[in-house]
Symmetry: C2
Subunit: 265 residues, 2 copies
């Protein structure tokens, strides 16, 4: 029921402006990776009247509304897709050292950079450090996995943590750590993102656009707010925490960029 | 349409837990007086499936949803009522110097204290200092008015500003001022409110329960986030800002409390 109904509601009105929606959510304490409560609520506000206006049976509409409202992480699906689209626009720029993808598959951590298209630079991925749901601990955790680090690649998620002191109750640390995270990510990014001002840092934009050269220059590694999955398939999420990208992938990317320009390294 | 439909939706389900809802909103950057976007969104999430489930015509339901979703201040009605109910529970406690009401009528500022029941202590009210909507300025403003200062009386609103750096774009000042506001209100209140932890202040509860004796001891005046009304009736809101309670009302209340105990002052 949900897919066709949502499709009908979306097609019946104007496009949903996800950049605006995510920007508003950052003003409301989301970092849009592991805290998505505001973005979910704002999307719900926008789509609910449209779901009702489809004229579908009210039981189906009520069930669809309850499905969205029952999951504070619903909007993660939207922020990931929006981030992916933003970054795809930056792919394949010759010579560019901008990171266009960060992802993990539970075994390896991989990045792509704009200057070498769809080539992956990979290294083993470590576990996240964080908080576990009751009954679980570090021994149950799989090494970090998932494609949601595309949010940090854009400059939200862990990079926007300053806006989200409440996320520290989910991933660990203190509000001061959250401020420090966004500040440290400034050192490895190209610019503050004008769409995502961080209120607690006087509305300076969230650090956006990881530059592999800056990562190597500073030794500062991209910081990712991540869910922790159980190492046995099917159990699902057992916690949340913070993981950093492995340094090897940035070094490999610089070698790849040099080779693409015919420079021996 | 709206009233009967909302009534039907509310009566068809369990009570809406406003304390929980406001507490969650404070985690999402609302201070629940002049910033109500999160509380409005959370209430919308809770009531929308229930509005649909009434089985009323979908046109009416969609119109009701759009009415709520179209006003980021909708939840102010809820926070004011909730605060009033909380504080009424503290009225009429013999000898208590707790402030149970702060209100303004555009001419005078009035308070009540728990130890003297429904007696008002009043003094002339000043204008708010803040930001004006385009085309308006201080000369257009009425002295402060409205009953919404009941939120500050509970310990949200201006007292919870630390949680709401974004409100400074509406009432003026900086995020640092917002932190300072909550910190200074600690000096004149009885305790941190356990229901309203302020994330940027390491989740310490919002300062709650103004004590007239502490106001006199410290000289610190309750700080109120307020809407600014035009001085001509019918024009409506022309800005928002910050106003402090006049000191005379607290001095008068102490005299009133003393008299109630038979002490000459």
């Amino acid at each position: 029921v949900f897919g066709p109904l949502m499709g009908a509601a979306l097609r019946a009105g104007p496009p949903v402006d996800l950049r605006r929606l995510l920007a508003e959510a950052v003003q409301m304490g989301d970092e849009c990776h592991n805290r998505n409560k505001a973005a979910t609520s704002l999307f719900f506000r926008e789509i609910a009247p449209r779901l009702v206006a489809t004229g579908w049976p009210s039981d189906d509409v009520a069930a669809a509304l309850r499905f969205i409202a029952g999951n504070d992480h619903f909007a993660l699906n939207l922020s990931m897709a929006a981030a992916k689209l933003c970054l795809d626009a930056a792919a394949d720029v010759p010579g560019s050292s901008l990171v266009t993808v960060m992802s993990r598959n539970g075994v390896e951590f991989g990045i792509r950079v704009a200057g070498t298209g769809d080539r992956w630079y990979t290294a083993p991925v470590g576990p996240a450090v964080g908080l576990f749901f009751p009954g679980y601990g570090p021994d149950d955790a799989n090494p970090d996995m998932g494609d949601s680090a595309i949010t940090e690649t854009l400059g939200i998620g862990g990079f926007a943590m300053a806006a989200s002191p409440s996320i520290t109750t989910f991933v660990g640390g203190t509000p001061a750590d959250a401020l420090a995270a966004s500040r440290s990510m400034r050192r490895i990014t190209l610019a503050p993102h004008p769409a995502f001002p961080l209120p607690p840092l006087n509305f300076v934009g969230s650090p956006s656009g990881i530059d592999v050269l800056k990562v190597l220059d500073t030794g500062e590694l991209p910081l990712i707010n991540t869910g922790i999955a159980h190492r046995d398939a099917g159990v699902g999420q057992i916690g949340a925490g913070i993981v950093t990208a492995p340094p090897e992938v940035f070094l490999a990317a610089v070698h790849g960029l040099a080779a693409a320009r015919g420079v021996e390294t």
